[in-house]
């Protein structure tokens, strides 16, 4: 009886201790709040994955990676009917629009586009060299929808998870990269 009581009190104290914000965290939150409500609202609304990436400086320890990947994979939604390759023309619009995909910030795509970033892989001729097989479609779809399901804490943001495009629109982006008629593939080599 007595032992149980001690255990309960001990657990309560432990819980209380763990729920307290450390002094550094409290100071950081104060600094962020100093920037105003809009800034603080977004900065302090980190999800679990963002918080882990921050904590480990974008390099997750190996033992955390399997769970991280599984949790990110579970966030991927697929188009109704399961068609992973849509209309490349619609995909091109989303890929290009700075407020949607904004993919040219980091990647090349259409060889005619000169204002492209060099951070991510060069995507010119992506489909021409890889084909349109089911495994390729699935891989591209999943990376486009949630890159963190493959590359934990990578710079590439989770476009589908964060609502920048719907599953159907993600399939359009897949088509822009894989469809032989897409400008990405038409002019390669």
């Amino acid at each position: 009886m007595k032992r149980k009581g001690i255990l309960v009190v001990g657990l309560l104290l432990l819980g209380l201790g763990l729920s307290q914000v450390g002094p550094f965290r409290a100071r950081l939150e104060a600094a962020v709040r100093d920037g105003g409500t809009e800034f603080a609202r977004v900065m302090l609304a980190q999800d679990k994955a963002q918080a882990l990436c921050t904590q480990y400086r974008d390099k997750l320890p190996a033992d955390l990676i399997p769970t991280f990947l599984a949790e990110q994979r579970a966030l991927i939604q697929y188009p109704e009917g399961g068609k992973l390759m849509g209309d490349w023309r619609k995909g091109q619009e989303i890929f290009t629009d700075p407020r949607r995909g904004n993919c040219y910030a980091c990647h090349s795509g259409d060889p005619d586009e000169v204002a492209y970033g060099t951070i991510g892989p060069d995507l010119r001729g992506y489909g021409a060299s890889r084909g349109q097989g089911e495994a390729v479609q699935r891989y591209v779809y999943e990376v486009v929808y949630n890159a963190w399901a493959y590359f934990p804490c990578s710079l590439m943001y989770r476009g589908g998870v964060q609502g920048h495009f719907t599953p159907e629109e993600a399939a359009h982006i897949v088509a822009f990269l894989l469809d032989p008629e897409s400008p990405v593939n038409r002019r390669s080599k």
Binding site: F24, R27, L28, A30, A31, V32, D34, G35, G36, E38, F39, R41, V42, M43, L44, A45, Q46, Q50, A51, C53, T54, R57, D58, Y104, A105, C106, V114, A115, Y116, G117, T118, I119, W148, C153, S154, L155, Y157, R158, Q162, G163, H164
Partner: protein, 264 residues
């Protein structure tokens, strides 16, 4: 008056740049492009836009506030009225305000405590111009941001945490671009890490925006482009990030550019 004259000319320059851009077969090198634009300005007007901001800032610096004082009575870290090299060692801790301040925040503070302005009377554009004026005394100066005071060390640590803080619907932070992909390009903009001298060009005139950007303006622009609303000016996030960035650049031995710089 000078401003209108320079705005008129700017539309011509901008048209030319757009033409050059659309005709270009390969991506333009942003640094070369900025230097070409700078040269065009010098040849067309005989003066750089940054110099006009400096002139405006000088007038505001010597304008008497409600207290009757000018900003000569403000201590920018090397004693009241000493401007030579002052910018190169900011942000730092100021015992009078009991906080770590960057140049912009220091100007904002002194306009209130020394000159007697109310916060709502202080125009952001005036602070920008005064920043350009004071920073011009640290043109090409070696950076000297070395956190020593406990408050400066605390700001450095906060800045480092913010540097890695992933947030917003683009899942980003500063490090995942600036550290990991230093030397590569976002669209056409080159990325630099703090140890490569990030921050050395501000305040600068950005010809693409036709505006003077201070360090805070540039950080605000970064936040907005990664889907995070910009913090209120003069707030701690700017100061913390600036301490972190410039302390790292100082460790690597960097100097400021010609200030105000001319950039895209």
């Amino acid at each position: 008056m000078k401003r209108i004259y320079h705005l008129l000319g700017l539309s011509l320059v901008a048209l030319g740049a757009l033409f050059a851009y659309t005709q270009g077969q390969k991506p333009l090198d942003p640094f070369e492009e900025a230097m070409r634009q700078r040269q065009m300005y010098l040849e067309t007007f005989g003066v750089l836009p940054g110099e006009l901001y400096v002139e405006e800032g000088k007038e505001l610096f010597y304008r008497k506030g409600p207290s009757g004082k000018t900003l000569e009575a403000c201590d920018f870290g090397k004693g009241p009225g000493v401007l030579e090299g002052a910018y190169a060692q900011l942000p730092k801790y100021f015992p009078d305000s009991k906080r770590v301040e960057d140049l912009e925040t220091r100007i904002y503070t002194c306009m209130q405590t020394v000159q007697g302005y109310k916060p709502q009377e202080i125009k952001r554009d005036e602070v920008r111009a005064i920043t350009a004026y004071v920073a011009s005394f640290s043109s090409k100066a070696r950076m000297q941001v070395v956190p020593k005071h406990p408050a400066e060390l605390a700001m450095y640590n906060l800045g480092r945490e913010l540097w890695y803080w992933r947030a917003g619907n683009r899942d980003m932070n500063c490090a995942s671009c600036h550290d990991r992909y230093a030397g590569r390009r976002v669209r056409l903009s080159p990325l630099r890490s703090p140890s490569q001298g990030l921050g050395s060009e501000w305040p600068a005139y950005r010809f693409e925006a036709d505006k003077l950007y201070t360090m805070q303006d540039r950080i605000a622009f970064c936040y907005e482009s990664i889907g995070i609303p910009k913090p209120a000016y003069y707030s701690e996030s700017y100061i913390a990030l600036t301490v972190y960035i410039l302390a790292e650049a100082t460790k690597a031995g960097h100097s400021f550019e010609e200030l105000p710089f001319f950039t895209r």
